[in-house]
Structure formats: structure tokens, C-alpha cells
């Protein structure tokens, strides 16, 4: 009987230690870094098969083709004033390559750990780089990719990213706008498909009180590639 009692006590202590480890380090141990705590591995090369919205993503639709985007009147008005030549002239040719729209463009991604607390997402289309930081970043100027705060959802095996501090950009290449007040919330998830493909889906919600009547929801899909074949950085193109 003594053996049983002793064994149970030891195992409960052991299981408690295991739980502590799951929480991010045992008692007295340093907490896990975001890199160590990652429930999924997003690193590697990815390509975006354009299966949905092909007519709006692989080619640039005509001005005013805003189907599916909940633009308000002001957003529509701004969208109708889209002038790609003017954007280029103003050095604003990357407006469609900001965090609010770039995941919709045909591209390859190269995801690496910039350090233990930030994922770097390089995108060949427009030669853009997004940094998904797990720690708070100091204030900075607004930019195409803004500031992205990342957070693992460990039980769900997903990554939540909230991006703010954006320069005004386009959710669609034909000038459908989002403003500098836009907040982009993304959920990144991975799935192993029956054919063994690794598939990454990024669900994107663009909240913009200036140009949208309600959040604009899309989901963009990426297939993992074995290597960098096809990696083709190109500059932004306003057309």
C-alpha cells in the first residue's frame, strides 16, 4: 500500500511540473520565447495559388469594380478617383502592397524568425517585408506594412496578428481604399492536406471606420514549397 501511495504522490508532483512547463517554464525557469512556444511552424517558402477572386487578384480589374468590398460612399468616391499614373508619380505605387491588401496578391512568401520574438514575412511581389512582432514595438511612422503585433493561440494552433499604424492603401489593386485608421486582424492557420501538401490560410479582417461600412473579410491561401524555386522579387506596380 505504501508503494502505491508513494508512487501516486511522485507522479502528481511530476505531472504538476509538466504542466508548469507547458505554461512556459517550470518554477524559477525563464519563460519560453515566442519562438520556443510556437505551436506551429510557419517558416519556409510559400506560394499563393489564386483560386478565388482570380479576376480581382491575378489581373487588375477596371476602376469601380468593387464587388464584395463593403465600401461606404466615401470609400467608393475615393476608389473612383484611382489614378495609377498619379500614384506612381507620387511615389505611392506600393499602395496595393500594404498589409491590408498584399496577402491577396499573387506571390511567394519567405517566412523566417527575425529573432526569438518576431517572425519576418518577406513577399516577392512588391519586394515587401512584414514583421510580426510578439512584443510591443516602440512607436514609429506609419508605413505600408504598419506595426504588427502577434500572439500565439496555443490550444488552437493559430497565430493572431493585429496590424495598425498603416499608411493608406488599397484592399484591391484597382484603388479600393483603406485609410490610415484601418486595423487589420489576421488569423494564420496550418493544415496538412490529404495529399500531404502543407497549406496555410490567413483569414484577414480589415476594419476601417473611414471607408468601410463593416469589416472586409477575406481568406488567402498558401501552399508550402520545398525551396526557393520561383522566388521572384519584383517592384511595386501601380497598374
Amino acid at each position: 500500500m505504501k508503494h502505491i501511495v508513494l508512487a501516486i504522490v511522485l507522479c502528481l508532483l511530476a505531472s504538476g511540473a509538466a504542466l508548469d512547463a507547458q505554461r512556459g517554464g517550470g518554477r524559477g525557469a525563464p519563460p519560453q520565447t515566442p519562438r520556443q512556444a510556437a505551436p506551429i511552424d510557419l517558416t519556409g517558402y510559400w506560394v499563393s495559388p489564386i483560386i478565388e477572386d482570380w479576376k480581382f487578384r491575378m489581373v487588375t480589374p477596371n476602376k469601380g469594380v468593387f464587388g464584395g468590398i463593403p465600401l461606404n460612399n466615401e470609400g467608393r468616391k475615393v476608389g473612383m478617383s484611382w489614378d495609377p499614373a498619379a500614384d506612381e508619380k507620387a511615389g505611392e505605387q506600393c499602395r496595393a502592397y500594404g498589409a491590408g491588401g498584399i496577402m491577396r496578391l499573387p506571390s511567394r512568401l519567405h517566412i523566417t524568425w527575425q529573432d526569438d520574438a518576431a517572425l519576418k514575412v518577406e513577399i516577392d511581389t512588391g519586394t515587401q517585408t512584414r514583421v510580426l512582432a510578439f512584443n510591443a514595438a516602440p512607436p514609429a511612422e506609419a508605413s505600408w506594412q504598419g506595426q504588427s503585433r502577434a500572439q500565439w493561440n496555443v490550444p488552437a494552433n493559430t497565430l493572431k496578428v493585429v496590424t495598425t499604424n498603416l499608411k493608406p492603401g488599397y484592399v484591391r489593386k484597382n484603388g479600393a481604399p483603406y485609410s490610415n485608421k484601418a486595423v487589420v486582424t489576421e488569423y494564420w492557420e496550418l493544415h496538412a492536406l490529404p495529399n500531404k501538401d502543407q497549406w496555410m490560410t490567413v483569414t484577414t479582417k480589415v476594419d476601417d471606420p473611414v471607408y468601410l461600412t463593416r469589416p472586409y473579410l477575406t481568406s488567402s491561401d498558401f501552399k508550402k514549397l520545398p525551396n526557393a524555386t520561383g522566388w521572384n522579387p519584383t517592384p511595386c506596380n501601380a497598374k
Binding site: A7, N62, Y187, E189, H191, P194, L217, S219, D221
Partner: protein, 681 residues
């Protein structure tokens, strides 16, 4: 304190210690080690349970609640897709041809008027979704989900670890779905789908597709990643993702089907199958008049058009033929899946159909069996080699379904007696519970044709009958010969003629004993409580085909008019024609009634392949009409058979029904079609 004293205090009667205490006291050496191992095992199990419980309290993995009302905001591919827009589709040549030649007006045919959205399109259909939880009433565990879309049947998703049905089980619009949690994502696998469409506007799917979905809830957003794997029509799986928003005030409206007759839809022929001949769909590209930024080549689809590399083609830098893209492969073993619908494994598989009727899949050939208190009636007998196993399966079926021991349902004088008067429970006990009546044997055999795989078991099976056919020695002055215990064999008279003239000679016990020559024939008595009616299908697979209708069970045995694993066998030397097969299928469609939303209802047992319903028969008929019209068009243009063959008029169906080897190849079928179509007048 002395140990013994402790023991004495716990167990005042020293010689009555509990067994485990005695064992511990005596345990030495290896036994002590064994006890220690046991104790540790118990402890680890306890710790594991404890850890799981704590993890759950600690916010550990617990599936999210998917139930509720969800709204589709259609942020992607908004609105109704224009006809023949294949952008984003990895179509192969077969998929493109099938879509080009299938107009949306196919929905106007009687069999498709109430067709719900095909499963691959349901998440994209407007109206949102309602997800209902199904609970085990005792454990309150979630054992499944039920999905309701506006234009769909309720779609069950089973979480109780049940297996998928066999391949010869019927397909439905929503298919058969099982699921499991992967972390907090619900992974759903769906098989047994009917042929339908990927999205409205033309892109078709075959009935061999498999669908895998990953459903993940992110706060108040639900993302569904959907993988449609249909190598019949696609060069790589079609993967799309759809987002829904939680909306407690939402909920899909119900779209009741108010299908009208075809004539009211503007048609004049209920059997008319609208379709385009290849190259004659003038609507292709019409939407580019308004969507003029899209190049024509892109709307034709293809795997090379969906990768970023395609922009180099759009920019005019590279011809598409020179493009290399990182295409994926299919995980769907279609050839095996088709073969599994009609397994040639030397065994008999039994599938309950409806009412008294069962389908026996006997080494690549289907037998329809009615089993009841009257005995057994079967349609077709399989091959001679399978006779013993078929007979054993039928006997077993009768014994376990009709004559099986049953629980006592009465007591004392309230019990019915097998001899009429009220009886005590003991006779009931003897007759029903302990030793039920022996299974009755075969009474009727129907041959739908003289095809060897349908008559091969006639002699052995018919002679297994348990009562006499014909006279009994002196009956009718010996006018009716006593031929012993043989079942009655019924067939069209041309079947008898073919069998009688066969070489080698057919045994007399295998020959039909009742024949008919009219449009139809009613078996002269009810069989297992229902009429059995044979309809002649003239000049179909042969000159003697019959359709057999079990009128109360609502089951039709189609014989060789239909096969879900091949093109129909048409024996032109024996009077078969493509038009006759189509007419025969139309006759089935006239008899059959769908239960609800174009599925179920009257079941159709094909000569080979899976159990089918009206929509399946319509799909098969539609295919044959399309092929007939294509071949007729080519033949009318003066093409020889070789030229017709080179034009590949069956291209979009070959992956599903064709064969390059075996007893019935695509070339043989095409030859029969070409040969039996009349020359242009």
C-alpha cells in the same frame, strides 16, 4: 511500534486478513517488483487523468463551440458567377469539355428541379449556415453536427467514429461526412457525393470527388478551408477558404422546392436533356463584354493559370506551354474507388435497400433479392461460380431478417398460437423465441437479360427451391410435368430464345419457365406482400431486357441498362442500341419518384455498381444522351468510325466510365453507339 501490532489493530481477526494484505505480507523478490510496477501503473494513470483535468481547467485544448447562426458576407467571388467562368479552376481537358457542354438549364429537367446545391458549393451559396450540435442524451457528448444551408438538405457530420459506408452504398448531394478534432479545428472528410458542380455557372464535378474541410473558429469568425479532390475533372485539388461571421440574429432561410413539370418550364419533352455539342456553346466568353479586363485564355482555366507564374504569360513574356508551376497531386485513388463500387473479390456483400429488398454484390454483379415470409425472389443470379455463395448469403439473409428469433411479446392466454386458438406462452416461445420457422427457399428468379453474369446461377439457385413447381405426378392428368423443387424463372421471351439457342446448350433447369412478349408482365401473385412487375426495354442492351419493379418496396432492378462502373454494355449483335438504352433509362425515370430534393425515394439497383436513385439514373441518362448526340453529329458529317474515335466524343466521361482493357472498353462502347445510330436520311 511493532508492525504486527498495527496489523492486528487493522484486522482484529489476525487469520482473516484481506487478501491483498496477505499478499503484501508474503510478497518477496519478483512478486514485490510486480506489485511495485502495478502500483506505478495505477499512479501514472491517476496522474494522467489529473493532468488532463487540470489542463482543461487551465484553458487546455477544448474544442470551440461551432454551433449557432453564421453569416456569409461574400467578400470573395461575390454574386452569381457568370456562365463558363473557369478562372481559378485547375480544369483538365475533360473538366473543361464537361463544363462547356453542360448548360445551367439542366436544372430545368424534372429530376434536377429540386436539386440542392452540391456539397462543394454549399459554403459559397448565399444565405448563411446554421450549425446544430447533436448530443448523446446520456453522456451529453457531442456526437455530431448538422449543417443547414439555404439551398441544401440537412448535412450530418458524424463525430462518433463510425466508418464510411462501403463504396457500393448510395451517394447523396451532401455525401457522408465524418469528423474529428485536430486541436481546435474540426476536420471533416466527406465521401459518397453525387456529381454536381463546384460553383454555379458550369464547372461540374464527378461523383468520385472527395471533400476535406478544416473548420476553425477565430473569435467570432469561422474559417472553412475546403479541399475538393476530383481528379476526373481537375489536375490538382481545388482548395478554397471561406469565412463566416457569428450572427445570432442570422440563420439561413429555407428555400422550399416548388419544382414544376418540365413542360411548365418551357419544355415539351420531359426526357429532353439540354446540352451543347462541343464547340457550339456560344455563351463562352460572353461575360467578358462586361468584364473586359480578363483575358479569354484565362477564363478557360487550367492549373497553370492559378499560380503567380501565370503573370508572365499575361504580360506577354512567355507562352503558357513553357510555363512550369508547382502543381499538386491528387490523393484520390479514383480507379480503385470506382472498382470498389463493384468489387470482384469472390465474395457476396449484402446491402439493405428498402422494404423487403436487398442488394447483393456478388463478385462484380448485382443481384436484387426480395426476402420475406413468402420466401425469396431474386432478380438475376450472378455467375455460376458464385452460386454456392449467393445461395448461402440468401439463406443467411432469410434466417437473420425474417425468421430470426424474436423476443416474446405476450404472456399466457393473450399469446397468439401458430395453430389459431389462443395459447399459453409456451407455444409462442417454441415457435418464435427458441426455434423459429426455417427460412423459406427461393420461389422466383427474374432474368433481366441473357447476359452470362445474370443467368449463370440460374440452374443451381432455381433448383434450391423448397417446393414444387409444375405438376405433382398426376396433376392435370399429368399435363403439367413434375420437375421437382424448382423456382419459377421469369424473363422476356427473347431471353429464352437466346438461351435456348446458346452454345454450349443451356441446361433445361436454367431456362426461363415463364416468359412474356408484351410491354410489361405482372407476376401472377404478390411476392412478399407486393407486386412484381417486369417492363420490357426494347432494343436496349439486347433485344430481351427487362426492368423489374418492386412496387411496394419502391425498388427497381435495372439490369444492364445501368452500371455505375462502366458505359452500358450494348450487344448490337443481339439487338442492342444506344437509343434503346436511353429509352429504358427514361422508362425507369418515369416510374421512379425522388423522396425529397431530388434524392432517395425509389431506389435503383444497377446491373453493376453502387445503389442509385433517380438523380443517378438521370445523370447516367444525361451522359448517354450527350454522347449519342455528339456521335450522331459527327456521323452525320460523314465521319468514319475511326474519325469519330479520334474526335474523342466521350472524353469528359472516360475517366469515370471508360476502360482501355477488359471485356468492355471505351472503343467497344463507342463502336456500338456509332453502329446503332441510324445513318443520316
Amino acid at each position: 511500534m511493532p508492525r504486527r501490532k498495527n496489523v492486528r489493530r487493522e484486522f482484529p481477526f489476525a487469520d482473516q486478513k484481506p487478501r491483498h494484505a496477505v499478499a503484501l505480507a508474503k510478497a518477496e523478490g519478483p512478486r514485490r517488483i510486480a506489485w511495485t510496477i502495478t502500483a506505478l501503473s495505477v499512479a501514472f494513470a491517476s496522474a494522467a487523468l489529473f493532468s488532463v483535468r487540470i489542463a482543461a481547467q487551465d484553458g487546455g485544448p477544448r474544442p470551440p463551440d461551432l454551433a449557432g447562426e453564421w453569416r456569409l458576407d461574400q467578400g470573395e467571388d461575390p454574386g452569381q458567377p457568370p456562365p463558363n467562368d473557369y478562372t481559378g479552376l485547375a480544369f483538365n481537358d475533360a473538366g473543361r469539355l464537361r463544363a462547356d457542354t453542360t448548360p445551367e438549364s439542366i436544372w430545368g429537367t424534372p429530376e434536377y428541379q429540386c436539386r440542392p446545391h452540391s456539397a462543394p458549393h454549399q459554403w459559397r451559396g448565399v444565405g448563411g449556415v446554421r450549425i446544430l450540435k447533436e448530443l448523446d442524451p446520456i453522456s451529453r457528448d457531442i456526437v455530431g453536427f448538422r449543417l443547414q444551408f439555404m439551398r441544401s438538405l440537412d448535412r450530418p457530420i458524424f463525430l462518433d467514429n463510425r466508418p464510411h459506408p462501403p463504396a457500393y452504398a448510395p451517394h447523396s448531394w451532401s455525401g457522408f461526412s465524418t469528423a474529428q478534432w485536430e486541436g481546435q479545428t474540426l476536420k471533416v472528410i466527406t465521401t459518397h457525393l453525387k456529381d454536381g458542380y463546384l460553383k454555379r455557372g458550369g464547372p461540374q464535378t464527378s461523383d468520385m470527388l472527395t471533400m476535406t474541410e478544416y473548420i476553425t473558429r477565430h473569435d467570432d469568425i469561422m474559417t472553412i478551408v475546403q479541399v475538393v479532390d476530383d481528379p476526373i475533372y481537375l489536375d490538382e485539388p481545388y482548395v478554397l477558404s471561406i469565412t463566416y461571421t457569428y450572427d445570432p440574429n442570422g440563420g439561413p432561410p429555407t428555400e422550399n422546392c416548388t419544382g414544376s413539370s418540365f413542360a411548365e418550364n418551357g419544355g415539351t419533352d420531359r426526357h429532353h436533356v439540354p446540352h451543347f455539342l462541343p464547340g457550339q456553346n456560344s455563351a463562352i466568353g460572353e461575360f467578358l463584354k462586361t468584364e473586359d479586363w480578363v483575358p479569354f485564355d484565362a477564363i478557360r482555366g487550367g492549373v497553370k493559370t492559378i499560380y503567380p507564374e501565370y503573370r508572365s504569360v499575361l504580360n506577354g513574356g512567355r507562352p503558357v506551354a513553357n510555363l512550369t508551376v508547382p502543381a499538386s497531386r491528387s490523393a484520390n485513388e479514383v480507379a480503385k474507388a470506382i472498382a470498389d463500387q463493384s468489387p470482384r473479390d469472390g465474395e457476396v456483400h449484402v446491402l439493405p435497400v428498402q422494404g423487403n429488398v436487398f442488394m447483393l454484390v456478388a463478385d462484380g454483379t448485382n443481384i436484387t433479392a426480395s426476402v420475406g415470409m413468402d420466401g425469396i425472389a431474386i432478380v438475376n443470379t450472378g455467375t455460376a461460380q458464385m452460386s454456392d455463395k449467393v445461395l448461402a448469403a440468401l439463406t443467411d439473409l432469410a434466417r437473420t431478417t425474417v425468421y430470426a428469433p424474436a423476443t416474446n411479446k405476450c404472456f399466457g392466454a393473450n399469446c397468439p398460437s401458430p395453430f389459431g386458438a389462443p395459447a399459453w406462452s409456451s407455444p409462442f416461445f417454441n415457435a418464435i423465441v427458441a426455434s423459429p420457422r426455417p427460412a423459406q427457399g427461393l420461389r422466383y428468379v427474374v432474368n433481366t437479360s441473357a447476359a452470362p453474369e445474370h443467368i449463370g446461377g440460374n440452374e443451381k439457385l432455381a433448383s434450391s427451391a423448397s417446393f414444387k413447381r409444375g405438376g405433382t405426378g398426376r396433376a392435370f392428368g399429368s399435363a403439367a410435368p413434375d420437375i421437382g423443387n424448382n423456382a419459377t424463372i421469369v424473363a422476356h421471351e427473347n431471353v429464352l430464345s437466346t438461351m435456348s439457342n446458346a452454345t454450349p446448350k443451356t441446361a433445361s433447369a436454367a431456362l426461363p419457365s415463364e416468359t412474356y412478349f408484351d410491354e410489361f408482365y405482372k407476376v401472377s401473385e404478390y411476392v412478399n406482400g407486393e407486386p412484381l412487375i417486369l417492363y420490357h426495354a426494347p432494343a436496349a442492351n439486347t433485344d430481351g431486357d427487362s426492368i423489374v419493379f418492386f412496387r411496394h418496396s419502391e425498388v427497381i432492378s435495372a439490369g444492364n441498362l445501368m452500371s455505375t462502373v462502366s458505359y452500358p454494355l450494348i450487344n448490337a449483335d443481339k439487338g442492342g442500341t444506344i437509343q434503346g438504352v436511353i429509352d429504358g433509362l427514361n422508362q425507369i425515370l418515369d416510374l421512379a419518384v425522388a423522396e425529397y430534393r431530388a434524392q432517395g425515394g425509389t431506389w435503383v439497383v444497377p446491373g453493376r455498381g453502387r445503389l442509385s436513385d433517380t438523380a443517378d439514373v438521370a445523370s447516367y441518362r444525361n451522359m448517354l444522351v450527350m454522347i449519342r448526340d455528339r456521335v450522331r453529329d459527327l456521323k452525320n458529317k460523314g465521319m468514319t468510325f475511326e474519325q469519330v474515335k479520334a474526335a474523342r466524343p466521350t472524353l469528359d466521361f472516360d475517366g469515370r466510365y471508360g476502360a482501355t482493357t477488359g471485356p468492355w472498353t471505351t472503343d467497344m462502347f463507342l463502336s456500338a453507339v456509332y453502329r446503332t445510330l441510324p445513318n443520316k436520311k
